[in-house]
Symmetry: D2
Subunit: 252 residues, 4 copies
Amino acid sequence: MATIDLNSDVGESFGRWSLGDDLAMFGSVSSANVACGFHAGDPSVIRRTCREAAAAGVAIGAHVGYRDLAGFGRRFMDISPAELADDVVYQIGALQALAAVEGTQVRYVKPHGGLYNAIVTHTAQAQAVVDAVKSVDPNLPILGLPGSEVLRLAEKAGLRAVTEAFADRSYNPDGSLVSRSLPGAVLEDPEQVAEHVLRMATESAVRAIDGSTFKIRAESICVHGDSSGAVAMATAVKSALGDAGVSIGSFL
Amino acid sequence: MATIDLNSDVGESFGRWSLGDDLAMFGSVSSANVACGFHAGDPSVIRRTCREAAAAGVAIGAHVGYRDLAGFGRRFMDISPAELADDVVYQIGALQALAAVEGTQVRYVKPHGGLYNAIVTHTAQAQAVVDAVKSVDPNLPILGLPGSEVLRLAEKAGLRAVTEAFADRSYNPDGSLVSRSLPGAVLEDPEQVAEHVLRMATESAVRAIDGSTFKIRAESICVHGDSSGAVAMATAVKSALGDAGVSIGSFL
Amino acid sequence: MATIDLNSDVGESFGRWSLGDDLAMFGSVSSANVACGFHAGDPSVIRRTCREAAAAGVAIGAHVGYRDLAGFGRRFMDISPAELADDVVYQIGALQALAAVEGTQVRYVKPHGGLYNAIVTHTAQAQAVVDAVKSVDPNLPILGLPGSEVLRLAEKAGLRAVTEAFADRSYNPDGSLVSRSLPGAVLEDPEQVAEHVLRMATESAVRAIDGSTFKIRAESICVHGDSSGAVAMATAVKSALGDAGVSIGSFL
Amino acid sequence: MATIDLNSDVGESFGRWSLGDDLAMFGSVSSANVACGFHAGDPSVIRRTCREAAAAGVAIGAHVGYRDLAGFGRRFMDISPAELADDVVYQIGALQALAAVEGTQVRYVKPHGGLYNAIVTHTAQAQAVVDAVKSVDPNLPILGLPGSEVLRLAEKAGLRAVTEAFADRSYNPDGSLVSRSLPGAVLEDPEQVAEHVLRMATESAVRAIDGSTFKIRAESICVHGDSSGAVAMATAVKSALGDAGVSIGSFL
């Protein structure tokens, strides 16, 4: 029976502010990208998220980001590679401790938002992330975009590079994501999303926005958890995969 | 030959702002209370501090504090015990990771500033700190004021409680510190400080501000590192201890 | 026709995090306590809130708080009076500029959360708030709890002190609020809340939790805007007041 | 008698961390770029700086920056123009209030660090700064690099654009600054700096790093205040200008 990993961003509440229904998402996904406090997530949120992920049997990853609460880590920052590496080590360590006190552990790293996007092409920041992860634990895989600098450099450094696709994003025929500024960039119909994911999981293929099809190698599929329809969408994806005989399970 | 531990607050620079001459202090002290980012210390500062401490053979402690950069962690915050415990776990974990990538490790915990003062008497916050430390590693000692709630609760929880005295602070005859708002509260003459420390280390005694003497049990002596004369003072203390045949070494 | 002011906390979103439905609340209230960035509210949130308040004809007040995003300004901080005063001036000024670029202005000040509670009794912090407000503009009224230090000191300083009552909070027979840690502290039934407010507005009276009644002098009534039923509650209050021939209008 | 404006960055301390000797700099400069809290400067620091600047007869400008304390506002941030504009309004307003309570006022705006550099060429961010300044007060001049987008757009918007040169920076023959990553980029000899400034002030000329000379139009000259030799350098510049019969005075 085929297995695919579904990952989702969680632990993104902060103090008085709630975001997403992490507990509900844990019913559908196998990997939890837990915010580490720099773009979202305070220590109590992080700890509770680790506890709930562990209870649900969901693998915990460190969702490391730029130090930018006001921008939710979505804005590119021209931080020096050395400082970025140290920021990443700090965040992983903080999450490791909170995971450990809940009897679980950090199993992988996924860069967040602006950092995620930057290190698709920004070699120096990508290398900094790879250096940081390797220095903490060379057994931690990095989750990223197929073809990205960060995954290329991770492999070069001997780290496991895990590719991911996006359940609710449209693709261009060349495999890149349709810019969020264009119409149709984000899929909002649960059925369409489920079909999208099914094709990724069972055919290793994506139907692009122009109707053409291309092959994709994705060991994990990202399901967003912070929109209003997130839980319904994740449930639809899980159900469609189940019907097709594809089980959901960590890439680990 | 008698041995005494000297501890000092380090890693308190932040971004563009420098504070203290940590490297120079490492020539005199045996324990480094490293800021963990909540009251001071950014990840790059923390990492460099760990590297330099390790190179100097100085033991690293987690100097955990309130989340208050603007107030340097010196202002009491009425944070809930559960949140405080999580903040402490987060800070220790972050420091552990940065220490580990520099080939060293966190050996003890010392609460900072407003938190240090609060948990002399604030039972709930003291218990939160103890719970946090124990949850991370029950082998981590906590450094605190003799007679404080935090040390009482640490011992009760099976943690090692390490008492400290202050090299440059005047004491009342009852063993409490003279309030900083009173004249003579802080000793500024290196010779007087050296004499103060020598009496603590060799006679387990303190001469109070009224001239009377009382016994003190201090396994470590705190030497401040952030004043202009800090390095000269630490050097004077080290020299006086050496002349008296007292060596400086970690309490571990 | 009698008139009563209804005030509500708004502008409390921050970056990616939304809180409350300010626009809906502006349909029911006459005064908007706008967060100023220290406990909540980023500049874009604040500006949009000012624009919407102005469009709805709702008076804008500066909802100044402790510098504590992680704690939403709800935790007491033992900040020095001088620093607190400067923090308050800074926040009012920032809001004034954002209000001005939207063609409106700041008309009053209401301390938030932990600061609000502290200056019921904390004379030094209360005086700092009064000093700050007076230094910015002696024509700015301060909104606070009847009998509080801050209102006493405001009047002494020649500022207008505006008293408020709480629409959804239970009172003890002595006029104090029932602690949130006790059952029944917060009223959740819109009808009960409407009745509570009606009695305050038309009889200057409150029925306490034990069934007894006492007189209250409240020039404004606070309607909370950040709970799930906030808008429904505000609408119920507005409707009940309208039925009783009481109009809603600013205390200014 | 010729007059030239000297401007310097001040108010860059933050909480426990001191930076620069603002009071000493006020003995030599005529314009004070006061940090507004986003990259440096807490409200108490800002207020004291305003008080001291006013007492010294130094004009106050708003030194607005990216929201990045850890990076001191030196790192480019890809913030949206709308959010940037709101951040700038917020900062100016906060400074205006603190200046006003000290009996003085904000007279101009100078973007700081990473923002300053970005808006030499980044049209959208430059326009955002111009929009923000104009919305607050169209009489506030903007200080910037000759030939920069921000000054071009400021003039287009009807704002006064004030050009500045740098006392301690080497120039390329084309008028651009020698990159800090190259040797000789920063002048450290007070005499050389004084000569540099004198040529700017009396001949409207700069001797480039290759020995060639070019014309420069600078209404103000920036003297850095945060290096160890800053005060000595400013004093040397003032003395050299005085000897040459050039007085120091605001560009206003």
